[in-house]
């Protein structure tokens, strides 16, 4: 864990609603793994006292990136930052995805949940591990990945304006049933999507690892603000807790079996 004053290399719009910020952060870049996050202080004047946790979307040569959508005051501040500006970040935080070697990985991303999934995708490409990537957005203009689609990169849109109509679930059946070996899911996205992925995995007895998002203050297990309900305490590093897990310290990646289906 490092507290780094990162320098912004670029901060650009990559589709109709998503921004990508590239940061020079050599210490964090050296130590991070796919699925981990950084906790960002949006305003050094402390008008906003809670850091913003964001998944790492890429890592190379001392640089990391994040992908975000402007939704509130914190992300508005981030959106106004320019190359050369600095940003106070703590990371890398949380656990990360492992176990790519036995089952065939299927990566599922919904909306801004693409960030950690893209990092995992890059990681698997480097390790030459064959896998599928399914990314869903609401409309065509939200996709920033269109030129990269191929047999193993599938895009979906809620309105059918590009790729497969519907959610990432609509793309899953043909991919899963076309595989002889067993598959494993790695997913990040909005709660309804993660719930649907988890339900699909449970029904078909597929291992499934979900990256979750919550509000956080510290990001490393001290404030205990990012609690979520869990069904199984195997997810928890400190065994006195049975009912709640901390997304920052026990996650952000959880085994789907430990997360209640709704």
């Amino acid at each position: 864990m490092h507290n780094e004053l990162a320098t912004i290399e670029s901060n650009e719009q990559i589709s109709s609603i998503y921004q990508q910020m590239v940061l020079s952060a050599p210490l964090i870049a050296k130590d991070c793994h796919p699925g981990q996050f950084i906790n960002i202080l949006p305003d050094p004047k402390w008008t906003h006292v809670m850091r913003r946790p964001m998944s790492i979307a890429s890592q190379s040569n001392g640089k990391i990136s994040i992908i975000y959508k402007v939704v509130g005051e914190g992300t508005s501040i981030l959106n106004n930052l320019k190359p050369g500006d600095s940003l106070d970040i703590i990371g890398p935080l949380g656990n990360y995805w492992t176990d790519f070697d036995t089952d065939y990985p299927v990566l599922l991303a919904g909306g801004v949940g693409i960030a950690p999934i893209l990092y995992l995708h890059d990681h698997l490409l480097i390790k030459k591990i064959p896998h599928h990537l399914i990314m869903g957005t609401r409309t065509k203009d939200e996709h920033f990945f269109k030129e990269k689609t191929n047999a193993s990169i599938v895009l979906t849109t809620d309105d059918g304006s590009y790729g497969i109509r519907g959610s990432v679930i609509n793309a899953l059946d043909s991919i899963v049933s076309g595989k002889n070996s067993s598959v494993i899911f790695f997913a990040c996205g909005p709660s309804p999507m993660l719930n649907a992925v988890n339900r699909f995995a449970t029904d078909k007895n597929i291992n499934c690892y979900l990256a979750l998002e919550t509000l956080m203050a510290c990001g490393f297990g001290i404030c205990q603000g990012c609690a979520i309900e869990i069904t199984n305490n195997s997810a928890i590093s400190q065994t006195y807790r049975n009912q709640y897990a901390l997304v920052c310290a026990d996650g952000p990646i959880f085994d789907g079996k430990d997360i209640p289906l709704c």
Partner: protein
Amino acid sequence: MLTIRIGNLTFASPVLTASGTFGYGDEVSDLVNVDLLGGIVTKSVTLHPREGNPPPRISETPFGMLNSIGLANVGVEKFCKEKLPKFKKMDTHVFVNIAGYAIGDYVETLERIEVEDSTISGYEINVSCPNVKKGGMQFGVDPKLTEQLTRALRDKTDKILILKLSPNVTKIEDIAQAAVAGGADMISAINTVVGMGIDIATRRPSLNTVFGGLSGPAIKPIALANIHKIYKSVSVPIIGIGGISSAKDAIEFMLAGADLVQVGTSNFINPAIGINIISELKSYCEKENIKSLHDIKGKLEYQ
């Protein structure tokens, strides 16, 4: 220059970390050398382990945050086995914060820790908990109950006993005097201020428990007023807490009457904030030619 002597304790600096904002001091060892701090106050320990409250537990507010964690902690048994031994490696004062739901809970928790061979300097007592035997009323709102609780604990330990007071009372001076009458060595204040947030889109409160505790720079003026009131009413050493994020803030608390300060919510923004404040305080003392920070305690000048 920054050394503060209180009773037979010597604090290398007047800056401590507040309960619930610094864990047990070992979680942040990557980022902070805790030995540079004046001391740390642990997360609240209760007699039995506590899961804590259902989410959402935190919410941001202007210059502050609301929390309703629900005293999630490992419980005193596990605390003694797993956390207490780690303090032996730390060269700083450690105060164990204790919370309870009946006087007997507090006493039993303290006694359990007392039997251990530990290096802790003392206890900070969280009186902002509901008393189950008095219909859920907080200990810290009733002077009689505060005195009774303090005395019960005083009888069981020779270590430093700090009572951490709540600002959510009619007259904090009465509570401070009651704590001193019961045998408290020091007073720390303030705990969080009762607050609430609402999401107008869902019409739901921002915290699951509806009401929570407000902390951060937003509460600093409330904390300063309470410290000054306490300073005017008791003569024991005082620890100022509430929105401290700079040496300037710390000095304001000392002028209002504090001997020491605790840094709380600011640790979430910058876990090394306590260390930064200490070096800023050193520069301030050099610049202002202050020999000891004790010289400015209560030196507020009325117009």
